[in-house]
């Protein structure tokens, strides 16, 4: 007997979570696609963005200002990180970047723990109120999250397609050497991309913040899921990672009908393993290369 009302609620949950995950994962996939850097610290940028958001929110009392402040701060931090820690590693084997970003992740996590303490912080949601969805009072805010994430991703897509920097970024992805020969400042493009990735992670952190408490460990879960998404969706494939985010989140949410949330996460892992075995280039990639 399939409980239809539970299924529908979980589908809505899955879509909302999927959009947040898509926002985080698209930053990660962008960074990987351009620079071949697996950013272990991405979830921690998400977490730090959420924390910066809480501070900004406490001082200004306005959610949207907090969002803007967090995004700009984290973009600058991301750029700084890339210039200091990752630029020296260009050309070295990928293992080194994984290790370097892992080290950065440790520092960020513990820094957040140090500065903000272990007690979760709260941001108030800008849109309160619920609507009735079957047996549950579903908060409007969650729908707002999904729409905003979609808007940001849409903005990114348009930027990549039509913006000058966007075209530079796409050119660098396709052929770094040729792009450099054409006069595109490749190191600057790398820094910008990392900054954009960090900014998107921060935005998702602030958006996600009101739904759960902001605490220093929330990043790792997202890093892990973002990795799964990036692999399942195809490394460097923006559209694929969005579809994969929604897919994975739907699977997880539906799984929570039968198992506890802690165990539901295994579902995404199984999806990852199956993808790697059957279609390693990604489930949503049109033809395997």
């Amino acid at each position: 007997m399939i409980p239809v009302d539970q299924v529908i609620v979980q589908i809505v949950n899955g879509l909302v979570n999927g959009m947040i995950l898509a926002l985080v994962a698209s930053g990660l996939t962008l960074i990987f696609g351009i620079m071949d850097i697996v950013n272990f610290a991405h979830g921690d940028l998400f977490m730090l963005g959420a924390y910066v958001g809480t501070t900004a929110f406490l001082t200004t009392g306005n959610f949207w200002v907090a969002l803007a402040v967090s995004v700009v701060t984290m973009a600058m931090l991301g750029a700084a990180l890339q210039v200091t820690a990752l630029r020296p590693l260009v050309g070295r084997d990928p293992l080194t970047t994984i290790l370097a970003t892992f080290g950065i992740s440790l520092v960020i996590q513990n820094y957040a723990l140090w500065q903000y303490g272990p007690v979760p912080r709260k941001i108030l949601e800008p849109v309160t109120g619920h609507f009735r969805l079957f047996y549950v009072e579903y908060p409007w805010y969650r729908i707002v999250i999904a729409l905003m994430s979609a808007a940001i991703i849409g903005g990114l897509y348009l930027f990549m397609k039509y913006g000058k920097h966007g075209i530079w970024i796409r050119a660098t992805t396709q052929d770094r050497v040729m792009a450099s020969a054409m006069g595109i400042p490749v190191p600057w493009v790398h820094t910008v991309v990392f900054a954009i990735g960090a900014a998107m992670a921060a935005a998702s952190g602030v958006l996600f913040g009101p739904t759960v408490g902001v605490n220093h460990a929330m990043g790792f879960d997202f890093t892990l899921r973002a990795f799964v998404v990036v692999v399942v969706g195809g490394m460097g494939n923006l559209g694929g990672s969005i579809l994969a985010s929604i897919f994975i989140s739907l699977l997880e949410s539906l799984a929570t009908i039968w198992v506890s949330p802690a165990q539901a996460v295994i579902v995404s892992f199984v999806a990852l393993i199956l993808t790697l075995l059957i279609r390693p280039t990604g489930l949503f990639v049109p033809t395997p290369k």
Binding site: A85, A100, S105, Q109, L224, A262, L276
Partner: protein, 337 residues
């Protein structure tokens, strides 16, 4: 071959010839080895209580780091899943110590080894088909899967609280049995770790080990020469996992408990840190890396309390950028003769 190559005439050629043949470790190596092991054996008489236990723990983590070096340093596959092997070695030993009365040391070690080996086969089968970053992510994912299983399967694993048990005595069943003293346990651990080191060294210097190193250097070429790379990788993962399980079993015996915290990704991460800091591909390096990391952790904990990972993380990142060969990396050639 000796009939085809002309006899080496100059001193340089002779030196090159010796190096190529790999005459085995030099006298300097063995002297260093004896000194280090001797110092560790004598430490119970010199060090105060806390540092003594600390040294024993360093040895155990060093064993874990050594096991991971087989994969990271010799085969070139970065595994972020060693916490699974370590944890299962721990829980395997715990199971043996709880199930069998009176608790038997050798059974515990064997159970830990077997548990870790079984998991290693499982993980190896799935992850060795993948290269580089996909391998790392898969091992990471597996360690998380095992963490979730151990954490939620409360009836068998004690869930969040883990398992506690009594320390088994040292002895041969039926012949003699003497309970472990703190020093006795240290010597036992030292003996196990030293034997493991010698074993692993033997393996890495063998033709099998040479193939692993060849896979690290240039996998497509190794495949082109005709070696079945997947099979070698699977054996490498199993070997690595088994020794990691041994470390886990030793940890369980030393500390008398098993907890899911040890299956967390952080343990895998620390293992990789030990390897990088100490020098990959040297076997001894990771042990030094473990010592270095744990000492730093102790030192920084006094100043920064539980935020010691901030300076340690910064040091680690700087080492990755500026000193990628690690502390003992410069000795890599010498240690691998």
């Amino acid at each position: 071959m000796s009939t085809l190559t002309p006899p080496a005439s100059t001193a340089a050629e002779r030196e090159l010839d010796t190096r190529a043949r790999g005459d085995g470790p030099s006298a300097a190596y063995w002297t260093g080895f004896v000194i280090v092991v001797g110092a560790l054996a004598l430490s119970p008489f010199v060090l105060p209580d806390f540092w003594q236990r600390f040294t024993t723990e360093i040895l155990i983590w060093g064993l874990l780091a050594m096991s991971s070096d087989i994969l990271i340093g010799y085969t070139g596959m970065v595994s972020f899943g060693h916490s699974a092997f370590f944890g299962l070695g721990m829980y395997g030993a715990a199971a043996a110590l709880l199930a069998v009365r009176p608790p038997n040391l050798w059974l515990a070690l064997a159970a830990g080894l077997v548990a870790a080996a079984v998991v290693a086969v499982f993980v190896a089968y799935f992850s060795t088909r993948l290269r580089d970053i996909y391998f790392s992510i898969t091992t990471l994912v597996f360690s998380q899967i095992f963490y979730v299983i151990i954490f939620t399967w409360t009836e068998v694993t004690g869930g969040e609280n883990g398992l506690t048990f009594r320390q088994p005595p040292f002895g041969v069943p039926g012949v003699f049995s003497v309970p472990f003293t703190r020093n006795g346990l240290h010597w036992f651990v030292l003996a196990v770790v030293t034997v493991s080191y010698l074993l692993l060294r033997r393996i890495t210097q063998s033709p099998f080990g040479m193939v692993l190193q060849s896979i690290r250097e240039n996998e497509p070429r190794t495949r082109a020469i005709g070696y079945n790379v997947e099979r070698y990788k699977i054996v490498a993962v199993m070997l690595s996992g088994t020794f990691a399980g041994l470390a886990g079993a030793l940890y369980a015996v030393q500390n008398k408990f098993a907890a899911p915290d040890f299956v967390l990704f952080l343990i895998s991460g620390e293992t990789v840190i030990f390897n990088v800091m100490g020098g990959m591909g040297t076997l001894v390096g990771p042990v030094a890396g473990a010592a270095f990391f744990l000492l730093m952790k102790e030192a920084f904990s006094r100043i920064f309390y539980e935020y010691y990972l901030i300076p340690v993380g910064i040091i680690f990142t700087l080492m990755v950028i500026f000193l990628p060969q690690g502390l003992l990396g410069f000795l890599r050639r010498r240690l691998n003769q």
